[in-house]
Amino acid sequence: MSASFATAWYFAALLFFIGLYCMAASRNLLRQLIGLEVMSKGSLLALIASGAMSNLSLAQAVIITMIVIEVVVVAAGLVLLVKAYRMNGGVDVWKLSSLKG
């Protein structure tokens, strides 16, 4: 049981790293959104592994809510992307650097 838990968390941490790296390395807002998706998939794996060890139906309820949150967050991010595209004609986040100090 605990070995299976450790495997799940190991891969969850790996996914978390890949997503974080993607968000940090990319300049493209769409790719950063993909990185965010990968990160949240990692957290989902971690949650279900924890739930299997303790309280599975609670974990399932939590995951369902989290999926709903995730889709709204991604949709809102895409709305932001569309807005950025319309206003600047690009989705390069480093071009957005008028504010400094």
Binding site: I48, L58, A76
Partner: protein, 163 residues
């Protein structure tokens, strides 16, 4: 001997790598969908069928549709794809380093963490869990959906006014 679940984990990780590294955004979106399918299979395997169904329909379905429509919207732009690729080519190496490091340091940590597992109230069905214990979460879901609808509408309304 790799078991079914480990095979799924490896597939999910490979899909994640593909989603992050592929040059074409459409491939990325499809790899992301494949990854979601993999996660849904893991959820089935963990005996969480309802969560798996949600994952399959919402993440593998809806989010992929959203991504693909965004990609097709932005496709015309040439500069969009011009990105420094070397950082992404380095990703498998970094991932390998993290994987080996995680094997040495992370694994024992997670195994130690598993010892703190506390068996909560089992036997409550998902329905009673959602509708009785987690009633407030449903309210939260309603408000996040309301927020999402308003955010999306505000942008489309602005476009109408602009035209």
């Amino acid at each position: 001997m790799i078991e079914y679940r480990e095979f799924l984990y490896i597939a999910v990780t490979l899909c994640a790598l593909a989603a992050v590294m592929s040059k074409n955004m459409l491939t990325s979106a499809i790899s992301l969908a494949a990854m979601s399918v993999g996660v849904a299979l893991v959820l089935f395997d963990f005996n969480a069928p309802w969560a798996a169904v949600f994952e399959l329909s919402v993440c593998a379905g809806l989010i992929t549709v959203l991504f693909i429509s965004a990609v097709s919207l932005l496709r015309r732009e040439e500069a969009f794809f011009a990105e420094d690729r070397t950082r992404f080519r380095l990703l498998p190496i970094f991932t390998l380093i993290v994987a080996i490091g995680g094997w040495i340091a992370g694994w024992p940590f997670f195994e130690a963490l598993a010892d703190y597992a506390r068996f909560g109230a089992r036997g409550q069905s998902l329905g009673s869990m959602l509708w009785e214990t987690r009633r407030m979460d449903l309210l939260g879901q309603i408000s996040i959906l309301a927020a999402g609808v308003l955010v999306i509408n505000s942008v489309f309304a602005a476009r109408k006014a602009g035209k």
